[in-house]
């Protein structure tokens, strides 16, 4: 249990997807103009990450790594398919995003309308594929750890985008040098927020 809490805290704050790895920056900068849309995208990212990363973990473990295929027949024990992981991961993510979109549309039209165009765009959000690749690199011992990790990373991403949106809503009223207006000041803002998040470094329970 303690292990899970530690993993969760570290993936939300210490190894924050945005502030430590810059993953999912494109949609982070594009959709953070108002808090309302930021909340929608944040929830969608958490949702998709919690589904895709554990699925990718299982695929990795029972299909891709060396010796993973031995559950089919002992003859396949030497097969190493790990070079295929990129293509499998991205295909799984694209397929699941499509599936989630259809399920949400069928059972919860209000949520579907709230998420709008963000759902399909998540397929190319670097944070989702990045989460899967970090999962592969860290070699979790069981699937529950990957669930904790994916929820933590998604939540960290959501916190980051919602707080940036809140700052950007306020900063609209301040007098910024013209060439810095818009994108420039946003980059510097994210830099300053990332600096604040560096305070969590080495944080452990």
């Amino acid at each position: 249990m303690e292990n899970h809490i530690n993993l969760f805290i570290s993936s939300v704050f210490v190894n924050n997807m945005i502030f430590a790895y810059f993953l999912g920056m494109c949609s982070y900068l594009a959709v953070s103009k108002t808090v309302k849309t930021a909340v929608g995208l944040g929830i969608a990212v958490i949702f998709v990450m919690v589904i895709t990363i554990p699925v990718n973990y299982l695929l990795e473990k029972f299909l891709l790594v060396e010796g993973a295929l031995s559950w089919i027949s002992p003859k396949l024990a030497n097969v190493d398919l790990s070079f295929l992981s990129f293509i499998i991961f991205i295909a799984v993510i694209a397929a699941i995003v499509q599936l989630v979109e259809m399920v949400v549309e069928r059972y919860s039209p209000s949520l579907y309308n709230a998420l709008g165009i963000f759902l399909p765009l998540i397929a190319v959000n670097c944070a989702v594929l990045g989460g899967a690749l970090f999962m592969q690199q860290r070699e979790f011992s069981n699937v529950w750890e990957s669930v904790t990790f994916s929820f933590g990373s998604g939540l960290g991403w959501a916190i980051a985008i919602i707080s940036l949106a809140a700052v950007r809503e306020k900063i609209r009223y301040s007098n910024i040098p013209a060439p810095l207006r818009g994108l420039g000041i946003t980059f510097i803002l994210v830099g300053l927020m990332a600096m604040a998040f560096m305070g969590f470094m080495g944080f452990k329970l």
């Binding site: 430590a20 070079f83 295909a91 594929l129 990045g130 970090f134 060439p179 810095l180 980059f187």
Partner: protein, 212 residues
Amino acid sequence: MSQIFSSKNLKLLTNPLNLENPITVQVLGICSALAVTVKMKPAFVMALSVIVVTAFSNLIISALRKTIPVRIRIIVQLVVIAALVILVDQFLKAFVFDVSKQLSVFVGLIITNCILMGRLEAFAMANKPWQSFIDGIGNGMGYGWILIVVAFVRELLGSGTVWGYPVLEKLGVYSTGYVNNGLMIAPPMALILVGVIIWIQRSRTRSLIEKK
């Protein structure tokens, strides 16, 4: 020959370097860009990989553009990109293993680099293969020079080296009491440096300034 490098095609190559820069103007592909800029060497390798992948994915998708059904185009594009990235990744692992270790997951993340999807959707789906190829190279280079400039500043001020060569030590700067700025190596500085580059670029090219 004159047709291959007509002024229109040359524009495709040079526009993304400044006026339509993928990072500072189109806001594409920042995801994997910033984390690899602590040192110049990985940044350079990353820039080259992205140029290769953008150029060839643009070429392939543009050649296939009339046969790809519109509804499943995203997944077709992703598969082409992912296959190219696997090639690049295997190549890096075989020839520059140490750099490939440093880049870790970020080579894989080229797949979701928004420059690729952005250019495929905006350009390759509607233009001829050769133009798309040039457009891919141009956008890859526009992405690459920002990466290398940021990496140059961070490496020089953060570790006192340029391309691994200890410039500041050879110049004897340390004996005057100068110390490396540890903050430069930390992730936030990459963002702030890109912010400063945008600031400089927009002060020089007033047409890029955003309206209030």
